[in-house]
Amino acid sequence: MKNIDSDRSNHRSWEGAKVFALTFPDLRVAVTGGTSGLGLALVHELLDCGAKVAFVARTREDVESVMRDRPAAHGIVGDVSLKEAIYPIAVQVGGALGALDVLINNASSLGPVPLALLADTECEDIELTLATNLLGPFRLTKALLGSLAASAREGRRPVVVNISSDAAINPYPRWGAYGASKAALHHMSRIWNEELSAMGIRVLSFDPGDMDTPLHLRAMPDSDRSTLKPPKVAAKELVAVLAQILSDVNPNAATPAEAIR
């Protein structure tokens, strides 16, 4: 994957965000994939900013471990790739937070590991990748859209963040399942945003860059970790973008999906 620094030039809005005080009292946030990598870093960062946070992950032990570490966070055991899991997750998000302002669809599947050429990718593997990276975010967003719209009607600025990747844009060989699913998610984010911005809901596609995460390690076991961005840094960058959107007085000033990419 390409160097993160070349991505940064596209993040024209994030530098300016530093001027805002990063505290979000009363902000209600849900994060999927919240027990490792960027998701876990986001849980910590958002709690540190004063937000109420619910997080979702598949493995009960991991969810309980994060809750022991951060008792203020509401952990939810669930697999966003499963249709039957979505509404039980949504019941717990809405129930525990009492409302929702920000949904971060961060849980991602890499597809076949080790990474494979598309010609060597099993159909079942690409289906599973799409279920996690595309259908999961679609279903969860749809299930929680009522809460996000209620937040907008109360004058807040609800945001859905779909975690993207430069593999959504660039055709990297062996990243077919992941890249195609993230490309679809990226485009879906843009369409959601077009459709929902009139109602005051923003949908953002955010590329955090190449991070030192378990997912990246599985994809590229030999990479030099010192060259990778710590997830904590990416989490701070995303929170800064959120801060800017949440403080934006004019809902029509920018189209977030375009501003980020």
């Binding site: 019941v91 009522g146 809460s147 719209a149 209620a150 009607r153």
Partner: protein, 361 residues
């Protein structure tokens, strides 16, 4: 009427029976709803999502199977999830009409119910062997997880296939606090909502924890609706005041909205924002202070939903409405067709009654 038996929220040919302010009745399509709204109108819906509130398990003292349907709670706060009013049923499920199901085990104060992963204590029986106040054990976290993963949507025999949670969530469903869907909102879709601003129509929501509406046991059903907590945001209250001052109509989507708005209103019709517990029954003798029209399901006479419509139009008009619902084969219950009823003025009300008297001879 025919019972709507499939959990389809928006059939393209769903019907809408309209009663206008003079009591005239017309048979329309649901898709015509937006044509009945005028610039300056404010449509208000209940944005509560529906809890999977039917819990199956057993009564620990007798080891007998039991179904518990959560039916009410005292407040909407997310941590206020321990105590519920509930109705109990014996062995079996919704497929068997209540009168054919075995009686539930006879409960005593202090009895324990094991409901999947959830464990609850009977705090008291509320003047009826099936109606009780229960208290869940465990943390707030565990109770939410138990409800979300173990609970099933409350369901009745007229829908034969098991409901999924998503069948019971309206398109605008937000926080899961209702026990049965605020089903009038099934009429809404996002495309309609997006069209409203262009047509000068405003949209707002309240949240009311709609309780269960029926058990099949007449002496229990006579108690419904139970007390229901609700929340009206400052934004919604402000919009109501604006619309009232500009002469627009306040149109409630569903009986739960009427109940919340009228409960929160001062004598002058000003609606106060905040949380409340709606305890009143709305019916023939209610003077509606806020709501000018209602969109509702096609309910059968005798239900508490139908009773509420008596505040909008005289019984003579409701009789004609029921005749028309039969004549045009309207489908009843939560996945059925709809009615749109404008509140009749008191003057019209008198005219209608005199006409009925003349007709009666």
């Amino acid at each position: 009427m025919i019972a709507a038996s499939a959990p389809v929220q928006r059939l393209s040919n769903s019907k809408l029976l309209v009663v206008d302010v003079e009591g005239r009745i017309t048979d329309r399509l649901r898709a015509d709803l937006v044509e009945l709204l005028l610039p300056g109108d404010l449509l208000i819906a209940n944005d509560a999502a529906t809890l999977p509130a039917a819990l199956f398990g057993f009564h620990v003292r007798t080891q007998r199977p039991i179904e518990v349907r959560l039916a009410g709670r005292p407040c909407l706060h997310s941590d206020c999830i321990r105590e519920f009013v509930a109705v109990v049923f014996g062995d079996g499920d919704y497929r068997t009409p209540t009168e054919h199901r075995p009686d539930p085990p006879r409960l005593r104060k202090g009895d324990i119910l094991q409901l999947g992963p959830l464990r609850a204590t009977v705090l008291e029986l509320i003047d009826h062997p099936r109606l009780l106040l229960l208290c869940f054990e465990g943390t707030v976290h565990d109770i939410w997880e138990g409800l979300a993963r173990h609970g099933r949507p409350i369901q009745y025999a007229h829908v034969p296939t098991p409901l999924a949670i998503w069948d019971t969530w309206t398109p605008i469903a937000g926080v899961p606090v209702a026990f049965e869907p605020p089903s009038a909102s099934f009429i809404l879709d996002w495309s309609t909502l997006q069209d409203f601003p262009r047509k000068g129509i405003q949209f707002a929501t309240i949240t009311l924890a709609a309780g269960i509406s029926s058990t099949g046991e007449p002496d229990l059903d006579a108690r419904f609706p139970l007390d229901e907590p609700y929340r009206i945001s400052g934004a919604t209250a402000r919009r109501i005041t604006e619309v009232q001052s500009q002469g627009g109509r306040v149109i409630a989507v569903g009986t739960s909205v009427v109940r919340a708005l009228e409960h929160a209103a001062n004598h002058d019709g000003i609606v106060n924002p905040g949380e409340g517990l709606a305890r009143q029954k709305i019916g023939q003798n209610t003077n509606l202070l806020v709501v000018d029209a209602i969109v509702s399901g096609a309910h059968e006479s005798g239900t508490s939903h139908f009773e509420l419509l008596r505040a909008f139009v005289p019984d003579e008009t409701l009789e004609k409405l029921s005749e028309q619902l039969e004549l045009h084969h309207y489908r009843s219950h939560e996945f059925g067709d709809s009615v749109f009823i404008e509140k009749m003025t008191r003057l019209q009300w008198q005219v209608c009654k005199s006409e009925a008297a003349i007709e009666a001879g």
